[in-house]
């Protein structure tokens, strides 16, 4: 995959040497080059690095053959390594980098969708000064000038970062202006983790969970499988322990306490619905029970601990938490407690204590912080706001993050920024912060930037530009370099200089080449440290923590799609259904059925939410499995000065967020507003299987007792149709897919990857409301049991590539036919659009082009066309489309195999975009002729079944029934 040459401009390539004597041919080449160069210089600002066209083609570059390059995408300071597919110079698809610890080859929805952001037509294109176009030199004069006050009035506000380059540049800046101060702030990160570690260990260590060895997990308000810095890694490792290969085989157990159902919670064996404020009580009760068990080593005095935890622990049901504690203790050494980002520091500290009691040295690594920290020269956002208010700041440099929108409402940064004499904002969009700043500089997209970054475990990776910047802009590194005194900084040169300096005598060029090729700096992860629990501070903090107040608690959480609002203009993410609610193009006030009934509220009713004198209006959405007396709101919507895609989408939950209560607070008042409902566009409206055998499940014990519980949903069926050609081992490929429901979290990464790979249009909120979404792959989520405490199951649903496909025989024009290698093929240019096939598809996976979507939906227009995969037809109005099993990849692989002496296609040689992205590897794709592949092995398991098997469609997509592992002690 990553054996391609690193991307470099053509300098130093063949053709660059001094010509001995000019031939006619060389003369023409030079002329061509000069013309291209002249054209290229018109595009960028202060460009001194020249891009020349190839005069002699480099050996690896064939027009039409995509290349893959490594780079990293950072979110709130932590990097995920990716491979970017580049088609003739255009980045078109993000894939996971197997070498990077935060990816392990998988990608999340945000990474997949970030490629669309590169081509967003609404990206700003010019530097503005007081809203008028301005030039870069004017800005460098302002930022780079000497200051007599040693920087006393100079403030920086940037997102947390682990980048060694930015760290070094900040050092340079602070050496030049020692009195300047730096604020790191990310709306979607809390500092409770490091504060909690401070309480537990006396220093702000970072806990990294190694789920490869964990058998029992207690997750407290922690969606560790689908959000947070290492979630892709967690998901893959968790799935490895969770996937049960045979009846009676060991599998891990997961306990979750949380308010709103999360992807992690939907996989839990036991899920405790608690208000976020009550989660501490669960952990306290578990800790009390653990402390009472005989062979648990307690690093703190028992009496003091019990006294400190008693008020919290008393609220929990003893038999339940006792069973959890005993289960954890039984697996001491392979059990761990994971505390969520938004829990208070005390809960994190108590989590560390429990992990210590569970001898978690091998399952939890403690690392020194991997983010850049500047000690006394750092100040928090509240301190910065106070200083601005006091008039002590004359120059404020904001490097990304849109604080005017995303900062806590009580700090009122939007107003404060206007009071700063010189405010400079580097931002991705001309947004709320740009509107109040004097200077606005468009930020480069990560795919057009150079830099470096660190993963959650400290692993360093490089950020490699994959395309010439589309628009004028800059990056945080360049901005800091300007402040440090460089007149014409260039990120790539800064990066190279930094690493050259850092490596000293090592062969820099070799390092540069190898690192860009691999995507990570080998051996750069932070070493684990051993840290004993420091009882004093921990116990006093635990004792001082007040029990939660009564009342409705509001939980403010980053959104699983638009995050803190930075992806609000990304139409893919807006349209990607949120896990569990299937909501698109909106956020809503999630509440339990009981609370909704008490308030007399139903879905889509508008409600006013008031908290501490602030209020917002929101549509209500009843979320099965939500904790009572709690409301979950997602941040990142309701942008006040938004780009066209984000405009008018959702409500702004930041209005309820205060500096001291960033995760939410108790005391929410909800008033039902009359008037028209607010329609919510959801891709699924019915949540019950109606007792149909569609998504099968059993407990591990039941599976062991009756391994053949799926027998009625698999096996041969009598048919009047002629027999199908066999698919013997080693024969020609017969493509098939197996999906394990046990490890599907419903996160939606597969759906997003499919959209990016297959040029799937967005249809907008109107389209979703009319049930016209175009996603080829969807995740069906079914709830069973009482709506207060439902059991959830996710079932990715895509074209099943039925061997006896009902769609094929009803098409009047033979536009959907079967291929010899088992694909149900769709021939777009033969389709006349009768939609008969869709009616006859029992899985309803076919999608129709009701309009010319490009013409009909503005989000499909303009520059975003550059993202499209040239290997996939863009479908025109009036034709049907559906999953193709990524046929373009299959055919490319077949061609390769044929060129290499007509060899058979190897196991694992090709996979679909969905299987490639899946964080838990729940989707396996291969040919049935490779019986050793995971796909083929999985479908030989007894829990294999086909959805709607009784119809005799003989689908090529098979599912493995979900197996849960409930604790027999808990009834």
């Amino acid at each position: 995959m990553n054996d391609d040459e690193p991307f470099e401009p053509a300098e130093g390539r063949p053709g660059d040497g001094e010509p001995d004597g000019i031939t006619r041919r060389a003369m023409l080449e030079l002329c061509g080059a000069s013309v291209a160069l002249a054209a290229a210089t018109g595009c960028g600002q202060n460009k001194r690095d020249k891009l020349l066209p190839y005069t002699v083609n480099p050996p690896d570059l064939t027009p039409g053959i995509p290349l893959r390059f490594t780079t990293s995408l950072s979110l709130d300071g932590y990097a995920t390594g990716v491979l970017v597919r580049v088609n003739d110079g255009r980045p078109s698809k993000i894939e996971g980098n197997p070498e990077h610890p935060a990816s392990l080859g998988a990608t999340g929805a945000m990474e997949e969708a970030s490629v669309l952001g590169l081509y967003d037509p609404q990206r700003p294109r010019a530097i503005l000064h007081r809203r008028a176009p301005a030039a870069w030199p004017a800005l460098t004069r302002v930022l780079g000038q000497d200051r007599p006050d040693r920087g006393a009035g100079l403030r920086f506000l940037l997102e947390p970062t682990g980048s060694p380059l930015l760290g070094a540049l900040l050092d340079r800046v602070l050496r030049r202006f020692p009195a300047a101060r730096v604020t790191f702030h990310a709306a979607a990160r809390s500092d409770s983790g490091s504060l909690g570690a401070g309480l537990a260990f006396g220093r702000p260590l970072q806990a990294v969970h190694d789920l490869r060895k964990t058998d029992v997990i207690l997750a407290l308000d922690a969606d560790f499988l689908a959000s947070g810095p290492f979630h892709l890694r967690h998901a893959q490792h968790f799935a490895g322990r969770r996937r049960i290969a045979a009846p009676g085989a060991p599998m891990s157990r997961l306990y979750v306490a949380e308010a709103a159902l999360s992807p992690t919670g939907s996989l839990a064996d036991h899920r405790l619905q608690r208000r976020p404020g009550d989660v501490h009580g669960v952990l306290a009760a578990v800790a009390v029970e653990l402390a009472g068990l005989p062979d648990v080593a307690l690093p703190v005095p028992k009496e003091a601990l019990l006294a400190a935890l008693a008020p919290h622990a008393a609220r929990e049901d003893r038999p339940l938490v006792g069973a959890i504690a005993r289960d954890l203790a039984r697996h001491a050494g392979s059990a761990s407690v994971i505390v969520g980002e938004w829990q208070p520091p005390e809960t994190h500290a108590l989590g560390h204590l429990c992990n210590a009691m569970l001898r978690s040295e091998s399952t939890v690594d403690l690392l020194s912080p991997t983010l850049v920290s500047l000690g006394a020269q750092e100040q928090d956002l509240a301190a910065l706001a106070r200083e601005i208010d006091a008039g002590g700041v004359d120059t404020l440099v904001i490097l990304e993050g849109n604080p005017a929108y995303a900062a806590p409402a009580d700090l009122d940064l939007e107003r404060l920024i206007t009071r700063v004499a010189t405010s400079v904002y580097l931002g991705s969009y001309d947004d709320e912060t740009a509107a109040v700043s004097q200077w606005f500089i468009p930020a480069r997209h990560p795919l057009e930037s150079w830099g470096d970054a660190r993963a959650y475990d400290g692993t360093i990776s490089l950020i490699q530009a994959l395309i010439e910047p589309l628009h004028e802009g800059s990056s945080p590194a360049e901005m800091l370099a300007v402040v440090a005194g460089d007149a014409h900084p260039e990120a790539r040169l800064l990066l190279r200089a930094h690493w050259q300096d850092r490596l000293k005598d090592r062969d820099f060029e070799a390092f540069w080449r190898d690192t860009l090729k691999l995507g990570v700096v080998t051996g750069s992860s932070s070493p684990a440290v051993t840290a004993p629990i420091v009882p004093g501070a921990l116990l006093s903090a635990l004792a001082a923590k007040a029990p939660p107040a009564a009342g409705i608690e509001v939980a403010l959480r980053p959104d699983s799609r638009v995050h803190d609002g930075r992806f609000a203009n990304n139409a893919w993410l807006q349209e990607l259904p949120r896990p569990l609610t299937k909501l698109t193009w909106d956020n809503a006030a999630l509440m339990s059925p009981a609370l909704a009934a008490r308030l007399g509220v139903t879905d889509e009713d508008r409600v006013r939410l008031s908290l501490g004198g602030r209020s917002v209006e929101a549509p209500a959405l009843i979320a099965p499995g939500h904790a009572d007396e709690a409301v979950t709101l997602h941040l990142g919507y309701g942008r006040r000065r938004a780009e066209p895609v984000a405009r008018g989408v959702g409500f702004d939950a930041y209005r309820l967020r205060t500096w001291t209560a960033r995760s939410g607070a108790v005391g929410l008042e909800i008033t039902r507003l009359g008037g028209a409902k607010h329609p919510l566009a959801r891709t699924q409206m019915h949540w019950s299987t109606e007792g149909r055998p569609l998504a099968l499940r059993a407990t591990a014990a039941e599976y062991q007792k009756n391994p053949d519980f799926t027998a009625e949903q698999r096996g041969p069926l009598p048919s009047l149709m002629p027999p199908l050609p066999g698919s013997g081992a080693g024969g020609p490929p017969q493509w098939a897919m197996t999906i394990d429901l046990s490890i599907c979290t419903g996160c939606g990464a597969c759906e997003q990857a499919c959209q990016a790979e297959n040029n799937i249009f967005v249809v907008g909120k109107e389209g979703i409301l009319k049930s016209r979404e175009m996603h080829w792959l969807r995740i069906d989520t079914y709830y069973e049991g009482p709506s207060e405490a439902p059991r959830v199951i996710h079932e990715p649903m895509l074209c099943q590539h039925c061997e006896r496909a009902p769609c094929e025989y009803v098409c009047p024009v033979n536009a959907t036919v079967h291929s010899p290698d088992g694909l149900n093929e769709m021939i777009y240019n033969r389709c006349v659009g009768t939609r008969f096939c869709s009616n006859n598809c029992p899985y309803k996976v076919r999608r129709f082009n009701w309009f010319d979507w490009e013409d009909h939906v503005p989000a499909n227009q303009g520059l975003v066309r550059l993202q499209r995969n040239p290997e996939v037809t863009v479908r025109q109005r009036g034709v049907m489309e559906k999953c193709t099993f990524c046929v373009q990849r299959l055919r490319a692989t077949e061609l390769g195999a044929r060129i290499e002496g007509n060899r058979p296609i190897r196991e694992g040689e090709v996979t679909t975009a969905c299987a490639q992205a899946c964080p838990t590897r729940a989707i396996q794709f291969d040919s049935l002729s490779n019986p050793g592949s995971a796909m083929a092995r999985w479908r030989r398991e007894p829990r294999n079944f086909a959805v709607l098997h009784e119809l005799g469609t003989q689908p090529r997509v098979n599912y493995l029934a979900r197996i849960d592992n409930p604790n027999p002690e808990i009834g």
């Binding site: 699924q684 409206m685 019915h686 949540w687 019950s688 299987t689 109606e690 007792g691 149909r692 569609l694 009319k770 049930s771 016209r772 969807r778 069906d780 989520t781 079914y782 079932e795 649903m797 009902p806 025989y809 009803v810 098409c811 009047p812 024009v813 033979n814 033969r830 389709c831 006349v832 659009g833 009768t834 939609r835 008969f836 869709s838 009616n839 006859n840 029992p842 899985y843 309803k844 076919r846 999608r847 129709f848 082009n849 009701w850 309009f851 010319d852 009909h856 025109q876 109005r877 009036g878 034709v879 049907m880 959805v947 709607l948 119809l951």
Partner: protein, 464 residues
């Protein structure tokens, strides 16, 4: 059992039925009465108003068609899972209406039912115009209507043939055949009257036009013999079409897996429903026209009585089909079928349409058991209109409610028509009316020659 025998049987218990022809008009009187509307239409302002309304409806249709073709099917309310909706409902409804004409002209001719004589021309025209409306929908319904001909087996250069396993190419062929045969049959029946028009035409132009269309028909014995033979043969050809068209239309549904569509009862069920709605439409149109044009002597209460009885019979075939459908759904044990028939239809969104269908198709026709109802033209029109509402609802139930609730609950979604959907439906009614009014204006809508023949026969019987 012939009409006279029926009359004889019933005469003992109840007053005798009205005769098929009132009075003893001479041929000249009859010809004058039936041809005169072509030359001197009555109530000119009212006729203009009706024509204006029809033209307005046609304009609406043109607008809706333009919008649909210009922007795409997205302007309709269809979605996934309800990929078929108003378009196909209207298609089946119009095609169904088109069934009465051929049934009356061909099957009743072969069965020597003399009461068909006065109304056959009229119903054949209704058939043709209904099929024209019906034919619009499958075309517009295509995602890419400009490639409609790909459904037809023609020697394409790419050697791509239609898929003969699908019902749709058969459907296209059946509808086209039906239209062609109906047109020829109607035209053939019109020949003697075109000749009469030519002979009676007041001006040279009209005489020329009618003369061309009369194809040289002179009414000689030889010509009459050939004419009768051909007419009979065509009737024989048209008869199976009455059964085949809607059987094939029903295959559009019956060959699928969709719960409640996947059923072997569909062909007879659809044919019965089609004839049911066709007769209802005949009554709806016949009663007002009989009154406006003062044709009570030619279209007697006897005709209305027979039409009403046909409605009653076909309604019971339809009711029987409903019962069998429900029974099979229960007997199949399939959770999908049971859900569709016993939960989705009576209770899911759109169930109001289901209940409308129950009332209009099951309860309302039972009024026709009473002779007094059958003898009341006003009541008959009300019942006929309700039956057509019911039959439209039936197609809505079969198509939309089934698709709304099929196999995977995750993809269930509801359907709501848009303004374009409604405009298309109303527009086809306007276009139908426009064609029909033009027909009334340009041709004798009661076959003059045949009625005269009937009159002679009746007089001969009386003498015996």
């Amino acid at each position: 059992m012939s009409e006279t025998e029926t009359a004889a049987l019933t005469s003992s218990a109840t007053p005798p039925l009205a005769p098929l022809l009132l009075g003893h008009p001479t041929d000249a009187e009859l010809t004058h009465q039936l041809i005169s509307p072509v030359w001197t239409p009555r109530s000119r302002p009212a006729w203009l108003a009706a024509f204006g309304v029809a033209a307005l409806g046609t304009t609406l249709l043109l607008y809706a068609v333009t919008v649909t073709v210009w922007k795409g099917i997205g302007v309709w309310g269809n979605n996934i899972p309800v990929a078929w909706a108003f378009g196909i409902i209207n298609f089946v409804w119009w095609i169904g209406i088109g069934h009465a004409g051929t049934f009356i002209s061909a099957i009743l001719l072969l069965l020597e039912q003399r009461w068909r004589t006065s109304i056959n021309r009229f119903t054949e025209a209704m058939t043709l115009f209904a099929v024209v409306q019906a034919g619009l929908f499958p075309l517009l319904h295509l995602g890419r209507p400009w490639f409609f001909y790909w459904l037809v087996p023609y020697p394409a250069t790419m050697q791509a043939w239609p898929n003969f396993r699908s019902a749709l190419p058969w459907d296209a062929a059946a509808v086209f055949t039906y239209f062609t045969v109906s047109l020829v049959f109607w035209y053939l029946g019109l020949l003697p009257d075109l000749a009469k028009l030519r002979d009676a035409a007041p001006g040279r132009t009209r005489r020329m036009i009618y003369g061309i269309f009369a194809l040289g028909f002179r009414g000689s014995l030889e010509q009459h013999r050939h004419y009768r033979l051909l007419y009979g043969l065509l009737a024989g050809l048209a008869t199976p079409l009455v059964l085949s068209v809607h059987s094939i239309v029903s295959a559009d549904f019956a060959i699928t897996l969709v719960p409640s569509w996947h059923s072997t009862i569909f062909p007879p069920f659809f044919v019965a429903g089609a004839i049911f709605s066709g007769f209802a439409m005949v009554v709806t149109l016949l009663v007002p026209i009989r009154r406006i044009f003062g044709l009570e002597n030619v279209i007697t209460l006897r005709h209305l009585d027979n039409l009403a009885k046909m409605m009653l019979v076909t309604s019971w075939i339809v009711i029987y089909s409903y019962l069998i459908e429900d029974f099979i759904a229960w007997y199949s044990g399939s959770p999908y079928e049971k859900y569709q028939f016993f939960v989705a239809r009576p209770f899911a969104p759109g169930s109001m349409v289901f209940w409308t269908m129950q009332v209009c198709n099951i309860l309302v026709p039972q009024l026709l058991w009473w002779r007094r109802v059958r003898a009341s033209p006003g009541l008959l029109v009300v019942i006929a209109v309700l039956v057509n509402v019911g039959m439209w609802s039936e197609r809505f139930v079969i198509i939309v409610l089934s698709l709304q609730r099929d196999y995977l609950p995750s993809s269930w979604a509801d359907y709501a028509p848009t303004r374009v959907d409604i405009a298309l439906f109303v527009g086809t009614m306007g276009f139908f009316m426009l064609l029909f009014l033009a027909f009334l204006r340009l041709f004798p809508f009661i076959p003059v020659a045949e009625v005269a023949e009937l009159s002679h026969e009746l007089r001969a019987e009386e003498k015996v």
